[in-house]
Amino acid sequence: MLLIHCPYCGEARSELEFAGAGEAHIARPENITEVSDEDFAQYFFMRTNPKGIHYERWRHIHGCGRFFNAVRDTVSDRFLKTYKTGEPKPDRAEFEGEGR
């Protein structure tokens, strides 16, 4: 079970309180009615699913209720960072070489 630091509550909580919400920083096209079927499929269905550093969304559903973002290593499952919604996507260089 994971321990997840909620950036709104300011402390680490048990995974039991959270809902995983998939890949983060996927922007919905603003002209959604005009995008081609290919672009829509890319936006809606395709995922990077990396082995290693993953940017993902979580929701502290049984806590403060907020969505937030996280950077996690999908090999060790270790969280490298969690940050509030709206904050910029951290550069992956920040995490490279860290003892994962």
């Binding site: 994971l2 995983g20 079927d37 290919e38 995922r47 699913n49 993953h54 499952d77």
Partner: protein, 417 residues
């Protein structure tokens, strides 16, 4: 390759089992093959076998980063059934079930396919309507599936508690009698032995690290931990790691890799005659020939390649099993493990050509692709040989995410093992 038979058994019994041959050979990789299959699970190994058997292509290498069958093929709970809801699914899973029925003979290898029946419990009105819809859809399509009263269900599976006072009362069940289980790794061993016999190279401990493409954009081979190996065609069947492998050719897929866990108990005397699944309570159970209760849990909620899942997932499953079968409360669990499943948004698999000429993909089997092993392998071989899908797999292409023709078995069944 010597044939397995009663006579062979008798002969070997007489000479202290000194004459058994290795199942397959382990050659050094050649510099080039007609076809390379990435991933030595049941699907990949089977595809190589059918390419040789049905399409006359034998200059093939199956490249496996670990040992064959060490992926999900060797980690699954072996439920085999074909009672899915949509035509596209029924086509492929029923094709597969028919192949299971003759597989041991075809491969001259005991894959221990055991049609002991798969029963899905209905606990409420919603379940009853859903399962009856499945039963009708299946029967209209010529696939066996029947509705049982609680009494009939108990007769088929005596450990069931059908009392109205049970924590999750049972108001009926759907039963597919031809469904059942098979021996997980025997399938890949059987295919491996038969493939090796036809000259196919099985290359283990060899990780594919890159896919090389020629000036025309078509594949020209793979970079591996044993060096470059050339190929005219590449079939990717690397469950769990399909996104990783396909990214080597810049192809993105609608997949998320998540750990799925299973566990087995200490061995018990035969007590549980069939497979029982409860979608509502989310648990399923069967008993292996060794006597262990085989129990399947759910996936974790996050992407991971760790091959371990959260403990709360299995304890939740065990809660559910004990609610369903109080008689198992004191049984000890012996082993627990995880495999990485690659899941699609509609929980149906993808078998497809890709934007890269010569590159084919078989992926997204998620939590339920063991049952499809022979069928998927057979149809994937067709795709690789002919360059276009077999009619039974025509709906499984990547294009469906563009056209919107999804095959939403997730909505239809909630669990899909």
């Amino acid at each position: 390759m010597r044939k397995y038979s009663v006579f062979a058994l008798a002969r070997e019994a007489m000479r202290h089992h000194s004459g058994w041959e290795k199942h397959w050979t382990s050659p050094e990789p050649k510099s080039e093959y007609d076809v390379i299959i990435i991933g030595g699970g049941g699907h990949g190994m089977g595809a190589a076998y059918y390419l040789a058997k049905e399409h006359g292509i034998t200059n093939i290498a199956v490249i496996e980063k670990g040992w064959i069958g060490g992926g999900n093929t060797g980690r699954n709970t072996t439920i085999v059934r074909s009672n899915y809801l949509y035509d596209e699914s029924m086509d492929i899973y029923e094709h597969s079930l028919k192949l299971w029925e003759g597989l041991a003979l075809d491969l001259n290898y005991n894959v221990m396919y055991s049609p002991r029946g798969v029963m899905m419990l209905s606990h409420n009105e919603h379940d009853r309507q859903t399962f009856k819809r499945h039963v009708h859809a299946n029967r209209l399509y010529g696939i066996d599936n029947e509705w049982l009263t609680p009494e009939a269900a108990k007769e088929y599976c005596p450990p069931l508690d059908i009392a109205a006072t049970a924590r999750y009362p049972i108001n009926g069940a759907a039963l597919q009698r031809r469904a059942g289980t098979a021996r997980h790794d025997a399938v890949v061993w059987g295919y491996g032995r038969a493939a090796s016999d036809r000259g196919i190279h099985i290359i283990q401990n060899c990780e594919v690290k890159g896919i090389r493409r020629g000036p025309d954009g078509a594949v020209s081979g793979v970079e591996t931990s044993k060096g470059f190996i050339g190929a005219k065609k590449i079939g990717v069947s690397a469950s769990g790691h399909n996104s990783v492998v396909m990214a080597m050719a810049d192809v993105s897929l609608p997949l998320e890799s998540q750990p799925l866990q299973a566990l087995v108990s200490e061995p018990l005397k035969p007590i549980f005659p069939c497979v029982v699944m409860s979608n509502t309570v989310h648990a399923y159970i069967s008993q292996s020939d060794k006597g262990e209760l085989v129990i399947g849990a759910g996936t974790d909620q996050y992407n991971s390649y760790s091959q371990t899942g959260g403990l709360q997932i299995v304890t939740h499953t065990l809660d559910a099993i004990c609610e369903l079968f109080p008689i198992f409360r004191r049984v000890k669990m012996m082993r627990q493990w995880g495999g990485i499943t690659d899941n699609t948004p509609d929980r149906s698999p993808i078998q497809s050509i890709t934007p890269v000429p010569g590159l084919f993909v078989n992926c997204g089997w998620g939590t339920g692709g063991f049952k499809a092993t022979p069928g998927s392998a057979h149809l994937f071989a067709h795709l690789i040989a002919k360059g276009e899908p077999h009619k039974l797999a025509a709906g499984l292409t990547l294009d469906r995410y563009r056209t919107g023709r999804l095959i939403d078995e997730a909505a239809a069944a909630a669990v899909a093992h």
